[in-house]
């Protein structure tokens, strides 16, 4: 066992003065193990849909409040909440779960505007923002505000109304929460109404609709599994590179190998990028 440990982590004559863990065959083994892990995650989501997923504390009320906060910060009037637009947004989210897609246009060729029309909203101008896999509203709003096209919808001074669909379900075998914002200005501007207490309660009641197959339970995030496995591999390799570099200098060994300093720097940067990859995705 001690010999194996030495062979893997300590440079000496039996491993050609380079720790085996950082030699090319072992890096290839790390790649194979990671791909195996990814295949396991994918298989699990197909065989047992709903085992993996993203938990979320997002509510339609929070999305509505924060959208208007962003508008107020930009010196724009708040958007009025519209029940019909919310039905349209929720229908879009349910359609994405039902047909297993993540896009503005469905595989059946339905555009966002079809949902506006189906809900009975006649618009002169309209827009759609989508988000999925976010845990909190702040992160999701920040992602939208950092994207020029999504930000343009949120702070568009031509929109007067908004509807929000926050729907839980299973997409590609993974539990998630889809958030759909539908913006619009009615064809007849006289139809624009201010919020009433009834509309507010509708917003709260329909903030989370559920797909028929969705059962609420603690979820394991597939992204978190991938990140943790990847980060563990990087940390092991970086640690061994540092030990290897130290012992090589101490023992004054000469060998043909890549730059340990370069590898450490490269892996540290990739590890940093891995940790700074935000949650969720927008469309």
């Amino acid at each position: 066992m001690k010999h194996l440990w030495h062979l893997l982590f300590v440079p000496h004559e039996r491993n050609n003065y380079r720790a085996s863990i950082i030699q090319t065959p072992f890096i290839a083994l790390f790649i194979a193990l990671y791909l195996l892990n990814q295949s396991f995650i994918k298989s699990l989501s197909i065989i047992r849909p709903g085992i993996l997923g993203y938990s979320s504390e997002i509510t339609a009320q929070k999305v509505y409040d924060q959208t208007n906060q962003k508008r107020q910060s930009a010196g724009l009037p708040p958007l009025h909440f519209n029940n019909v637009l919310s039905q349209s947004a929720a229908a879009k989210a349910r359609d994405m779960f039902a047909n297993n897609y993540w896009a503005h246009n469905s595989p059946q060729g339905k555009s966002p505007w079809d949902f506006f029309k189906s809900a009975g909203y006649q618009y002169s101008i309209a827009g759609e923002n989508l988000a999925k896999d976010f845990y909190d509203t702040d992160s999701m709003m920040n992602a939208w505000m950092n994207s020029p096209t999504h930000k343009a919808n949120i702070i568009n001074n031509q929109y007067q109304e908004i509807g929000i669909g926050v729907v839980n379900g299973i997409l590609n075998g993974v539990k998630t929460t889809l958030v759909v914002q539908h913006f619009g200005t009615p064809l007849n501007v006289a139809e624009v109404k201010v919020n009433t207490p009834e509309e507010k309660s509708y917003l709260e009641d329909t903030q989370v609709l559920s797909d028929a197959n969705y059962q609420s339970s603690p979820t394991i995030s597939p992204l978190q599994i991938s990140r943790s496995v990847g980060a563990a591999m990087f940390i092991i390799i970086i640690g061994v590179l540092l030990v290897d570099g130290y012992l090589t200098l101490k023992n004054r060994n000469q060998r043909l190998a890549g730059s340990s300093a370069g590898h450490v720097g490269f892996l540290v940067i990739i590890l940093f990028l891995l940790f700074f990859t935000g949650q969720g995705s927008i469309f």
């Binding site: 790649i31 990671y34 990814q38």
Partner: protein
């Protein structure tokens, strides 16, 4: 430590590498909203690291196939792990 000794011997080469890494972080954070752009930043960083390797080892006179394969293995590992987290 060997890493610092390596850097001391070729400071300009490692300064170039440092600029590559700083540029990668800035670009990655700038395109924080767009997964596709973030993917391109990672590919560009890996490409730049590979080019740096060619220059560095050619300059050192030890640009052998085994070294090129070693770098490619590290780069492939980085691409596979980061790409799978940028869904």
């Amino acid at each position: 430590m060997s890493l610092f000794k390596e850097i001391e011997q070729k400071p300009l080469e490692y300064l170039i590498l440092l600029f590559i890494f700083i540029g990668a972080v800035i670009a990655y954070l700038t395109f924080g909203f767009d997964r596709q752009e973030q993917r391109w930043v990672i590919y560009a960083t890996c490409g730049a690291y590979f080019l740096w390797m060619l220059y560095h080892h050619h300059h050192r006179g030890d640009l052998h196939l085994s070294i090129i394969i070693e770098y490619l293995a590290f780069i492939l590992l980085a691409i596979i792990i980061t790409a799978s987290t940028l869904l």
